[in-house]
């Protein structure tokens, strides 16, 4: 396909379909994340990117034969490799024999949280999740380093006029969406704090919160959004999230327990786990939401300056 707009829209549909596939395979938390990230944010970022890079592909260079040969050989080797894999849905597969039974049988006594995904994410494997949050933070800094531009006021005015004319045309869209934004933000908080009991948690909540802000930017324009959301404040929040997460680990170290052992936080181990998970999910949510907002703002202002 030569038109990149169609490619990006198809990718969004594909992401949404894969999210429904995850629901069918019982991975509700994953489906939630994929629906918010893949179908929402990643499609939007790619659209912003192709408005800057041009939406049609250069047709000349396309040598399918060699690539096709490489792909077919690799694919058949991989299929040969699957022949002694365990069957789909088999309960005897090696993956279900090692740590999974402990998570399923003991997490209620040890952590006291019904959603096993949350207890593994925020407690058993908290160090791993810390690494992921740092990667997201680093990627945000990278985008900031690559795309940050100083704003010029004349262009702001031009953009204002343009936005204004656009908003006159889409009055209904603007009013309906304006009413939706508070509910999306509220839903983000619900997902954040209900993650212990149902699908959800800091990652999903952060992404949903950020998407409400994106919606606001798309409707009211960058200039208005910049007045509402202070960029250096958002950058500080992103760093605070990572710091909050890391501090919980350091506090448990200082009280003589292992890194991210939440029983250090309270005299009752299960209450300590609850507090630790709450703080860590909050750190994740803050970082993810603010990094997504930083990424989107920088893409959008780069576009405005071109």
């Amino acid at each position: 396909m030569k038109d990149l707009l169609a490619v990006v829209m198809l990718l969004g549909i594909y992401s949404l379909l894969s999210a429904s596939l995850f629901v069918a395979m019982d991975a509700v938390d994953v489906a939630f994340t994929e629906a918010a990230v893949g179908a929402g944010i990643s499609t939007l970022l790619m659209l912003v990117a192709i408005t800057m890079t041009g939406r049609s592909e250069y047709p000349e260079r396309h040598k399918p034969l060699l690539a096709l040969a490489v792909v077919i050989v690799t694919g058949s080797l991989l299929i040969y490799g699957t022949l002694d894999m365990p069957y789909f849905g088999s309960a005897e597969a090696p993956i279900h024999q090692h740590v999974a039974p402990r998570y399923i049988n003991d997490s209620m006594q040890e952590i006291g949280v019904p959603n096993i995904v949350t207890s593994v994410l925020a407690s058993y494997r908290a160090f791993d999740t810390f690494g992921e949050v740092v990667v997201i933070f680093t990627a945000g800094i990278g985008v900031l380093a690559l795309l940050l531009v100083a704003r010029r006021s004349e262009e702001d005015e031009k953009a204002d006029l343009f936005n204004y004319s656009m908003h006159e045309q889409h009055l209904i869209l603007r009013i309906v969406t304006k009413m939706l934004i508070p509910f999306i933000l509220l839903f983000a908080f619900y997902v954040q704090f209900h993650g212990d009991f149902g699908p959800g948690g800091g990652f999903q909540a952060g992404v949903i919160f950020a998407s409400a802000i994106f919606l606001y930017v798309m409707l009211f324009g960058m200039t208005t959004a910049r007045r509402v959301i202070n960029q250096s404040f958002i950058q500080m929040i992103a760093a605070t999230g990572v710091l909050l997460y890391g501090s919980v680990g350091v506090v448990s170290l200082l009280s003589g327990k292992e890194f991210f052992d939440y029983s250090a936080l309270s005299s009752d181990p299960v209450a300590g786990q609850h507090l630790g998970i709450l703080l860590i999910e909050l750190g994740v949510g803050l970082t993810v939401a603010s990094i997504m907002i930083i990424i989107f703002f920088n893409f959008a202002s780069r576009r405005g300056n071109q």
């Binding site: 509700v28 990117a49 592909e57 690539a67 792909v71 991989l78 597969a93 995904v117 990627a139 149902g198």
Partner: protein
């Protein structure tokens, strides 16, 4: 008999589609799209391995005997959000390449690089 392995084959087909896009196309945005498809195929691979017949989502409740494996869910959930952050970084690089070279086609970028030397 071998039909029980179809989940892996679906994953491999998707993975190879992504791989093909990455190596056969010169357009950098398309390469990112290819990488995204490749990435999703790995997600489906993990989640399909976590699935247990007759199991349910790993949220503890009374009267449920069989849960699917929560560990791959955790790994993939974080990987999706990390994936979008790294994709954004890739797109930022593409935007800068476009500004510096005036093109996002691999071949034209190489041509301009060769002219410079």
């Amino acid at each position: 008999m071998l039909m029980g392995l179809y989940n892996y084959w679906v994953v491999i087909v998707l993975m190879m589609v992504g791989f093909y896009i990455v190596i056969a196309h010169g357009n950098l945005v398309k390469k990112i799209v290819g990488l995204s498809i490749f990435q999703t195929s790995v997600f489906i691979f993990y989640i399909s391995m976590a699935m247990v017949d007759g199991g349910t989502a790993p949220i503890l409740d009374e009267g449920i005997k069989q849960y699917s494996n929560p560990l791959p869910h955790v790994l993939i959930l974080t990987a999706i959000v990390v994936g979008i952050a790294t994709t954004a970084l890739g797109l930022a690089l593409i935007v800068r390449i476009k500004e510096a070279y005036g093109s996002i086609e691999e071949e034209e970028i190489q041509k301009k690089d060769n002219l410079d030397c």
